[in-house]
Every structure is written in structure tokens, then in C-alpha cells.
Amino acid sequence: MARVKIVRYSPWLVHFNTGACNGCDIEVLAAITPLYDPERFGVKLAPSIRHGDILVVTGGVTKKAATRLKRLYEQMPEPKFVVAVGACGCSGGVFSGSYAMVSGVDKVIPVDMYVPGCPPRPEAILHAILKLLEKLQRGDAPRGRAEEVMKA
């Protein structure tokens, strides 16, 4: 729990595209630019997955990307949080039902916050991150970890 507290002050984001149309990617990119400036909340893009606290996944998960996503998630240090961005990330969106898709991110890894929208506005992404920070303030454990504890 102590580590969750530390993350609260300065969560670093890692952005990962699992098969998005780039609409969400450019909005995530726009969300870190001066107009929205999430560094006010200590949020910044981490250079590597091993430095990251929050994994921002854009796009529905394709079958080829699913294994990569899982591997990335395992490489993240604890505690880890996942934000699924966009309709495709939340549920597969317009691509669900294709032979190449696994659909939503939550089919592969546990997700802590969903951001619907196609694509969500940068403000909506900020809103989601703020909501996640609020959750941390309350001391909620990340979903991924809770499940692991249950399994053990």
C-alpha cells in the first residue's frame, strides 16, 4: 500500500498501441502537449515500460498484439494501473467480431479505468487520469494486483 501512496504523487504513463486507428494515439499525444499539460499533476510519459506506473492502452487488441501486451504488462513494476482509451480499448468498438481481434483490453489484462469516446478528447483522457488519481488517494489497490492476490 505504501507504494501506491508514492505513485499518487507522480504517476508516469506508458502509451501502447495495440491496433488502434491512431485517432486515440494522436489524442493521447495531444493530451501531453502544452494546451493540456498533465505535468501539473506530475503525470508524464515514461521512456520505458519499466519506469511506468500507468499503462495507457489505445485500440482494440489484435491477436498478434495480445501476446506483446501481456508481456509488457508483466514487465511493469508493481503497483500497476491500466487505462483503456477509446471505444476499441473498452470493448473492441467497431472492430469487434473480426477474425483478427481479441476485442477489448480487459480480455487480456485487468483494466482500472475505461475512457469511452471515439476518440476521447484530450480533456476526457485527463479526466480519466484525475479520476484514477482520486482512486489512489483513497488507497484503492490496482485491479490487477487484487486479482492476483485472490488467485494466490
Partner: protein, 144 residues
């Protein structure tokens, strides 16, 4: 030579205000007709299911209107569309194909949540419960 435009820019930027919008303390300017969440106004809906058929990501499901609501006579089958906001791509195809223009459109974009959200509550709030006034008047509603 090359330094000149950059130098000018630097001086200008030192004296200018920051470009950042102080969200969430300050609202970001959103167009009033930006495509945000939409839901069906059940006093107009006739339960024809056209929006469900046309929806590209199949985000709309038709559900039975629960007991205790005054359903308009035109809606003979007593069903209404529920939009799954996690699946919805906000293309507004449902809004434009609706034969009775029953959809209420808003520019609400703050939908982030950790559990599924849909339009059930919003749609049902447009109907009178037996003997009550309908609880209308959500934020930023503009009708088409």
C-alpha cells in the same frame, strides 16, 4: 541569420501567458454541438429498433421498459434502446436515422469510469413514473 526568428520567438514567449488551460479548475471550451453522449427520449421513441439495426459497432440493445412507467401508446412493444457507451463510437448514425427524432444529443464527454456505463438511467428519466413529473433537465442538453 537563423538565430533571428527563434530569438524573437523566445522574447515573445517570455512575456506571453501560458497556453495551458487549467483543467479541471477551468472548463475547456467545447463546441455546443460537439458529438458527446446521446440517449433516447422515450416520450418520442416508438421502439422501431432502426437505430439498433443501423448501429455500426452494434452498441445499441433494445430492452423492455420496466413496470411502473407511463409508456406512450405509439410504443406498442414497450421497448427502448439502451446505448452501451463503452461500445458507442459517437457517429450519431442513430440520431440521424431515427424516424421520430427521438434522440437527445449533448456535448458531454467526461464519461470515464471503472464500470460499464449505458444510457438506461438517462432514457428512463425522460418518462413519467406513474403519478410523478418526469425528472428532466440534464447538463448541456440541446435538442435536434
Amino acid at each position: 541569420m537563423a538565430k533571428v526568428p527563434l530569438l524573437k520567438e523566445v522574447v515573445k514567449l517570455i512575456f506571453s501567458k501560458p497556453a495551458t488551460i487549467q483543467y479541471p479548475r477551468e472548463e475547456t471550451p467545447v463546441e455546443p454541438d460537439a458529438r458527446g453522449r446521446q440517449y433516447a427520449d422515450l416520450s418520442k421513441c416508438i421502439g422501431c429498433s432502426l437505430c439498433m439495426i443501423e448501429c455500426p459497432p452494434k452498441a445499441i440493445r433494445m430492452e423492455k421498459i420496466p413496470e411502473g412507467y407511463e409508456v406512450p401508446k405509439r410504443n406498442a412493444r414497450k421497448i427502448y434502446p439502451v446505448v452501451d457507451y463503452f461500445k458507442c463510437i459517437y457517429c450519431y448514425r442513430c440520431v440521424t436515422v431515427c424516424p421520430t427524432k427521438a434522440y437527445v444529443v449533448t456535448n458531454e464527454y467526461r464519461l470515464a469510469s471503472d464500470a460499464p456505463v449505458n444510457s438506461r438511467e438517462l432514457s428512463l428519466s425522460t418518462l413519467k413514473k406513474a403519478g410523478q413529473e418526469p425528472s428532466q433537465g440534464k447538463e448541456g442538453v440541446n435538442r435536434r
